[in-house]
């Protein structure tokens, strides 16, 4: 039985494809980091927009989130790569992938941020208000620092799922890990060998990530004791000494 399976797996050629596949993996990783960095920022902006006071800003932000969450990510990528050229916007695959996935992930991550912000105790807002803080000051000094602790674990999970979702960009001709494999296997028909290697590469890269997220989660649970520096820490500790 084992012999049967392993006869499918062509070790002699595996090494031959490996450099190409690893290069594809590098593209996937680059795409992941680019999209994650952008989505962390845009997601927060969208979350704040959804809670902004002017009604029209809220409507625009809410519509954006609902449209993105209600349509497939793949369709969004197609739209950017295949439809936009009709309007004169021609993007290289990597750029289209970054933009498409960022638009998608920002919508989901804005919901995480929003939940985190709303999870901060109401008494915290009242205490900040009673001290005369403006809304922006309160957000910056009191709410966001507490919300961050709440949102880090779920955002970490999005980070891992984003890495796997970069494979969607294979359908807009980006030569990331999966598409590289498709190209190779289309010429030599070694599907078993190649897609197994690809699976192992994805797993090898995402499992450490998931361990890191778990470690982060534990750290967040410990409490505020582990924090050494805060906005006023320098001043405060010196004063105490």
């Amino acid at each position: 039985m084992f012999h049967g399976v392993f006869s499918f797996f062509d070790f002699s050629h595996a090494l031959e494809y490996l450099p190409d596949l690893l290069y594809g993996a590098l593209i996937s990783v680059e795409l992941t980091f680019a999209v994650m960095a952008l989505s962390l920022v845009f997601g927060l902006i969208v979350a704040l927009a959804r809670m902004a006071r002017p009604r029209w800003i809220r409507i625009v932000a809410t519509t954006y989130v609902e449209v993105i969450r209600g349509t497939p990510c793949l369709l969004q990528l197609f739209y950017i790569y295949f439809v936009l050229p009709a309007f004169g916007v021609r993007l290289p695959p990597f750029m289209a992938g970054v933009i498409g996935l960022t638009i998608n992930y920002s919508a989901y991550m804005s919901e995480v941020y929003r939940a985190g912000i709303q999870a901060v105790a109401k008494g915290q807002l009242e205490a900040a208000q009673a001290l005369g803080m403006s809304r922006s000051l309160m957000m910056r000094l009191i709410i966001l620092p507490q919300a961050i602790r709440i949102v880090v674990p779920p955002l970490g999970n999005y980070f891992i799922s984003l890495f796997k979702d970069t494979s969607l960009a294979s359908s807009i001709t980006l030569r990331e890990l999966l598409f590289t494999g498709q190209i190779i296997s289309a010429t030599n028909f070694q599907y078993f060998t190649i897609f197994t290697i690809i699976g192992i590469i994805y797993l090898a890269l995402s499992y450490p990530g998931s361990l890191a997220v778990q470690a982060l989660e534990r750290r967040m649970k410990i409490g505020y004791r582990t924090r050494r520096r805060t906005v006023l820490a320098g001043a405060a500790t010196r004063g105490a000494a």
């Binding site: 001290l131 403006s134 006023l232 004063g239």
Partner: protein
């Protein structure tokens, strides 16, 4: 200093404050007592605009604030004006509400530094002095979760005082505390009262009210039922409801602890 004129507030169809008028003079300590749900806390929260009033006027140092009518038109205060008034009135909550990601000293410093833009070093000196005043000089670098409830509440008082407020609002500040921790908080408040701070105190500590209040206000069902000096209210209440309320409290205290009332005499 603080004057409420015919203030009304409803939550849905629950009419919580009904035409409430009240005045607190500079340097005066006014205690509000009464059964839960009587509108005491709501009244306090309205003064700080944590709740929006439906009608009526609140004056601070003679100026109408938050919501008032001018030439028959309602005027809604811009945010910065509301924030400015809030920064002049300190408020202490039942649930402390210290900022958990700041140390005790940072909790005290954050508002003067960021709201007023005062120089850090000056604020730090003042914050250290306030920590000493509330008896917590050794807890300067502690985070709130490392402090007992009584200690947290004393930091919360110091935090409010750091803004050098003209008046202080206390919203049942000892209700969430273990009995043995109530005394240390009342002691700080007593000190403030003696120093001449204008205070409006919602409390269930009758002994405290009797001892330090210049005036006691009895509120029930959203109205001020009776007000007068502590002597008048506690010894010779005119209103039947006041009498009943005090009777219930006294009986309960007698049942709980036959000895002299606990932290009242601190």
């Amino acid at each position: 200093m603080i004057r409420l004129e015919k203030v009304n507030k409803s939550f849905g169809h629950l009419h919580v404050l009904k035409n409430v008028s009240l005045e607190v003079e500079k340097g005066e300590v006014v205690c509000i007592i009464g059964p839960s749900g009587g509108g005491k806390s709501t009244l306090l929260r309205c003064i700080n605009h944590l709740e929006k009033i439906d009608s009526g006027t609140i004056y601070f140092e003679g100026t109408p604030v938050y919501q008032f009518t001018q030439n028959g038109k309602p005027v809604v205060d811009p945010d910065h004006r509301i924030e400015h008034f809030r920064s002049q009135i300190g408020m202490v909550f039942q649930s402390f509400n210290l900022f958990p990601h700041f140390t005790a000293l940072e909790n005290i410093m954050v508002a003067p530094v960021y709201v007023r833009g005062e120089p850090r070093d000056e604020v730090r000196q003042r914050a250290l002095a306030l920590m000493a005043k509330v008896g917590l000089s050794d807890k300067v670098d502690a985070y709130p979760h490392e402090l007992s409830g009584g200690q947290q509440q004393r930091v919360a008082i110091a935090r409010a005082l750091a803004m050098q407020p003209k008046a202080m609002l206390f919203d049942e500040v000892t209700s969430a505390l273990d009995p043995e921790l109530i005394g240390e908080v009342l002691r700080v408040m007593r000190k403030l009262a003696i120093e001449g701070m204008t205070m409006l105190v919602v409390t269930h500590e009758m002994g405290f009210a009797r001892d330090i209040a210049d005036r006691v206000v009895f509120m029930a069902d959203g109205i001020v039922v009776e007000e007068g000096t502590a002597q008048q209210i506690f010894s010779a209440p005119k209103n039947e409801r006041t009498r009943q309320f005090l009777q219930t409290i006294l009986e309960r205290n007698a049942e709980l602890e036959p000895a002299e009332d606990r932290p009242a005499s601190v």
